[in-house]
């Protein structure tokens, strides 16, 4: 990887060894898939939208970074 940044790599990758994100893909009823990260017992953070429909990427209700309630226990 080539990092072209004014920040030093040591600063960017600080805490890298302790960083172990746990992602899971959930599929919605309409076939849309979301990559999510468990935040706590009842909430997940949307990490990524997995869709071939460009319109899904403009939806504000599933904007990556949003924390939403989930019935799924990941």
């Amino acid at each position: 990887m080539i990092n072209y940044s004014i920040f030093q790599s040591e600063f960017i990758f600080k805490d890298w060894d302790d960083f172990n994100p746990s992602y899971k893909v959930v599929e919605m009823q309409n076939g849309l898939k979301l990559e999510v990260e468990q935040v706590n017992e009842e909430s997940v953070r949307i990490v990524r939208i997995i869709s071939t429909n460009p319109g899904d990427y403009l939806r504000d209700d599933i904007t990556p970074g949003s924390i939403v309630k989930s019935r799924l226990q990941l």
Binding site: I6, F13, Q29
Partner: protein, 248 residues
């Protein structure tokens, strides 16, 4: 046991594979409150129609590697499909890009830059705060670029992360990667390759690095950015480009 809120299929913020997608609930007030609690921002009234899409690119440009959470990042897998959506959506006439980035993954940054530059719709960028390193090609990739008077842009040579083999090929590889940035910038801004290289390899300006820092007007004087201005001129320019395109 699931609580009552979790079992409510109309809860706009419930992700459930068995239920409709969040956002279908007409209870906008509740949705707005949730947004305020979770994202620290309020929803705009959905009735406000706007044909300009705003895209913010902030923090590190995140590419092939997920960065530790202390970094504020913009992920390219979020941006690239959004650009396709903007290009495809007939309701969107123009794209405004707000840029405040310290740089990041060279592949991701160039990918975003190429996508923006190849759009058919008018695009305008504003550099706010900083548009450093890989932020430079992104800033110049638009139809028209602006920088606010206090914003800065750092131009410096690229660096390799990880183990480096001490052979001439390493330098040649690094040089090739650098040429990708230089060629993109010089093709999309008025600056010449010679002058850009001069800025990139300048010594005596940065304390721990080689390169140059251009602040506000200096970026325009060096033919990198088109204009020193802020939000209103950016929107006026974008509106002008939209109207001009519609007239063609």
């Amino acid at each position: 046991m699931k609580n009552q809120e979790e079992n409510n299929p109309t809860n706009p913020n419930t992700v459930n594979p068995q239920s409709p997608m969040p956002g279908n609930d007409p209870d906008l007030q509740r949705s707005s409150l949730n947004s305020l609690k979770q994202m620290g921002q309020n929803n705009l009234a959905s009735s406000v129609e706007n044909d300009i899409h705003t895209l913010t690119i902030v923090g590190q440009i995140e590419g092939h590697i997920v960065l530790p959470p202390k970094n504020k990042t913009t992920k390219y897998e979020h941006i690239i499909p959004q650009l396709i959506a903007v290009e495809e959506n007939p309701k969107i006439k123009g794209l405004l890009i707000l840029l405040n980035t310290v740089g990041g993954d060279i592949e991701a940054g160039l990918a975003i830059s190429e996508m923006i530059s190849s759009m058919s719709k008018p695009t305008v960028s504003i550099v706010l705060g900083g548009g450093h390193s890989i932020g430079v090609p992104i800033a110049v990739s638009t139809t028209h670029s602006l920088i606010v008077p206090t914003a800065s842009m750092t131009i410096h040579p690229i660096r390799l992360t990880g183990d480096i083999i001490g052979v001439p090929q390493t330098f040649e590889y690094l040089d090739k990667m650098q040429d990708r940035v230089i060629s993109f910038v010089t093709q999309h801004a008025k600056i010449t390759e010679e002058h850009f290289r001069e800025l990139m390899f300048k010594t005596g300006t940065l304390v721990r690095d080689v390169g140059s820092v251009l602040i506000g007007k200096e970026a325009v004087d060096n033919y990198l950015i088109d204009e020193v201005a802020g939000l209103n001129p950016a929107l006026k320019r974008l509106r002008y480009l939209i109207d001009e395109g519609a007239a063609d």
